[in-house]
């Protein structure tokens, strides 16, 4: 699993890249009430808006961690957004992408790198 500075994770499963938000992001958002993902077939450059996630107190855009085409949204999470809060790195995944170039994933942070990022954010506070 790899991570972005925007607190998303991405993981290759077969040919498709699975995308979600991190435990840290889910905790920061709080009670999640809404998920919207771009329609399947939408082509996204890296950093394009993949969707929107809303809690009662915040709204955040989700950015495509890599370039690719939306293959599938997690309809279970759309129907019951609490899934995202309960298991952000499991059942509460957000979308699957068909990567344009799956090697882009390797350029993202690994778990240690992401932990270091969180530590530095904590230190700033």
């Amino acid at each position: 699993m790899r991570f972005t500075p925007d607190h998303e994770w991405v993981r290759l499963e077969g040919e498709l890249a699975m995308v979600g938000i991190t435990e840290h992001a889910a905790a920061a958002l709080g009670d999640i009430v809404y998920l919207e993902i771009k329609a399947p077939g939408t082509h996204l450059a890296k950093g394009d808006i993949l969707g929107v996630i809303e809690s009662v107190k915040a709204a955040s855009e989700i950015y495509a961690p890599i370039a690719g085409t939306v293959s599938e949204a997690n309809t279970c999470a759309i129907d019951d957004p609490t899934l995202i809060g309960q298991a952000p790195e499991g059942e509460g995944w957000l979308a699957r992408l068909q990567p344009s170039d799956s090697s882009e994933i390797d350029e993202l942070m690994d778990a240690d790198g992401y932990r270091a990022l969180l530590d530095s954010l904590g230190a700033e506070q």
Binding site: V33, E54, A58, A59
Partner: protein, 955 residues
Amino acid sequence: MSAARSIDKSATGFADRHIGPSPSEVAHMLDVLGLDSLEHLIEGALPASILDSAPLGLGAALSEPEMLRTLGAIAAQNRRMTSLIGQGYHDTFLPPVIRRNLLENPAWYTAYTPYQPEISQGRLELLFYFQTLIRDLTGLDIANASLLDEATAAAEAMALARRVATTRANAFFVDCQCHPQTIDVLRTRAEPQGLELIIGDPDRDLDPAAVFGAILQYPGTEGQVRDPRGCIRALRDAGAIAIMAADPLALVLLEPPGELGADVAIGSMQRFGVPMGFGGPHAAYIAVRDRHKRALPGRIVGLSIDARGEPAYRLALQTREQHIRRDKATSNICTAQVLLALIATAYAMWHGPDGLRGISKRIARLSMSLASRLRAMGLVVEHAHFFDTIVVDTGEATADIHARAERQGINLRHLSATRIGIALDETSNGETLDQLWQLFAVHWSDRAAGEALPVQADDALPPSLRRTLPLLEDPAFHRYRSETAMMRYLRSLADKDLALDRTMIPLGSCTMKLNAAAEMTPIGWPEFADIHPFAPSSQVTGYRTLITDLEAYLAAIGGYDAVSLQPNSGAQGELAGLLAIRRYHRSRGEGRRDTCLIPASAHGTNPASAQLAGMRVVVVECDKTGDISLVDLQAKIDLHADTLAAIMLTYPSTHGVFEEEIGEICRRVHAAGGQVYLDGANMNAQVGLARPGHYGADVSHFNLHKTFCIPHGGGGPGIGPIGVKAHLAPFLPGHVVLGGSGAVSAAPFGSASILPISWAYIRMMGDRGLVRASAVAILNANYLAARLQPHFPILFQGRSGRVAHECIIDLRGIRDATGVTVDDVAKRLIDHGFHAPTVSFPVPDTLMIEPTESEDLAELDRFCDAMAAIRSEIDAVARGEIEIEASPLRHAPHTVRDLIEPWSRAYPRSAAIPGGGAGATKQYWPPVNRVDQGYGDRNLVCSCPPMEQYSKAAE
């Protein structure tokens, strides 16, 4: 400009009643702060560089009877007429049971926006019915809890259409039969967004492929009822959004927009019992199809559940709004028109669907009679199909008819040199028709006089557009038909809510000060209430005097050269001010200037308004002390020097501190060619002490509903006039009816009928009373800060350890150490009978407290004692004596049901409410337990279920 001006040792007359603390209480509080005078407090709190010791020139204070007499004489200069002008404003009859129990009842008008749902269930319930009323009238799926006026609602609908339309077209079509003021505001709002407006006849000029949306007026401003189905179908086929601006009283009889295929409907609810008031305030509505609900602007009330799983109302989908989404919000709307929406709802409940149909049918029948008789006299009545408004070709007799009408006390609409418009309303009757016939009979022989007219249709509505959709079947619109029932219903709702008539509402940045009865009285005078906004200026001398006076007072207080009273909310003021800046830059050939610097701590409306004004938002960071970082400011100025349009500042800052560097900040922005917009939300800390226009600002808005005593009305009305320096004066909003352009509101003077409140406040306080009020507001905040400091950390303080007129207490450390949240504290305050302070603004997990000058020492102490008691409960959690989940903090607020049920909690029943119930007769009991915010957003319900669901439930 260095020493504070002298402040009276005691207030007299009205000021003494408005200001809570007595002279001896002031002395005591100063003593607690280690000070010997209010002057010393002021000199410590405000930077010497901005202190302004010159008098305001507002003169001596008037007593209450003197004010009422003086204002009465001004009101008497307005001439009440039978107003048949129409154009979106109609006379109406406000049922006295609603006037007395709602409009004139402080339990309703002194309430705040219902952010704290547990103490707001009464008005939330009525707003929920407002949304049900609008849903039924329009035949659409979901309505919000009101917008500011019909013209701004049209602009909001245009912006919504731009967001949701699937077409890439950049033009918006406007029916030339829209009200002129609607077209004017659409022009104002389209230009900075780079949208093209196409104005024309929809049946002739509309090319659906060329537009992302279109707005059609129904019936048209000249009264004609046209079938819009063809246009709507064509728009939908092209992927464009069809918007209808519809008259709600006409919709009682006409097929509604939803049935005609429209995506969006907007309109004004004024004629549902709300006086014309020379233009406002009134509630506008907006309703949309379910698929567009996330693009809706403004407040939406939704049904959720409380901690017991019982139904409870609260504001829904707040993530759309400016306080969360900032420059990406669906709108800059912050205030709604709650009080007026509530009146319209009660009016609909009082009449019920049958009563409303009776009213509408009567108006339609009278209009039909009028048209038939005029036709019989040989006049040409232009349209075959109309509801309440007709257009008559009067040729060369036009001027004479207008002159005769005015002599008889009747206003007709001036459409052109040869055409007159006549709009009938709820108050029209046979006598009105007789007067009208006589006007025309002078020029056209009344052949039909004395004869019965031939048998005619009941109305002139087209058969194909008669309403088939049921209306207001919910029991709530059938239950309160006797006055006893209505009186008790309104009382029962008011009893559920906490307003200023029961407790201090210490909301930071909201300035919940006294709304005195003497200030409120004049708004009910018919000479102010029953005036059409487009009445000839010769009839509104009183309003002109009032407006000129108030403009002068605000200019003096703000240090400005000109004032516009048109913006009908603070956010509208921001937009008007930024548009003035935009036009100023363009007038100098510097149209490239489109960058707006906004501190991270700004109100969410600031970036949302900047976006609407066509500006790019660049955020300026604050430093650790909460002040704007001069380093970051300089960096951002340098980076955007070429495009710098403005900075938007709030002063004193949203952190509740008078920043020392305010003058320097203004100088640097000016040096780079930018303008300074100073958000006047916190004006209450500086009236008579410092003037923005003197220390560097170019434009400000004043929140008359904060500093100048207009009540919050449970979430509106608000008024946001702007003051400007002379170089911006040419760019203030104009109005099409006054021969200008660039309007930001439907009416030339916005919500004119409530201006007497601020006029009365300023005149009764006088120069010295206003200064003392500002000083005591600062004293009260500093006293609270001093008393709370042993229990909670105070987040930001100025140079001398002083705060301004509000203070922020920081709960982040407590949250991390104990799990107690800012919500736990806010809800526990309800058990103490308090409305919570502002929660998590401008800093997450803090409370911002603003007591205002109106609260006396006893109420301040009661609040501090409550906070100290809460701190001891937090400490018990910290010591591990009780789990946070099991504590009274997490279970707050407590309901009667909690206390009468078998008790199995980890704390004693007597600990549930303060004093163990010793003050039971004073205890406020919330009607619901803590409301689950997330549940309601995941399961959105914004209006009463249709009747089928009731019958299913009964089966």
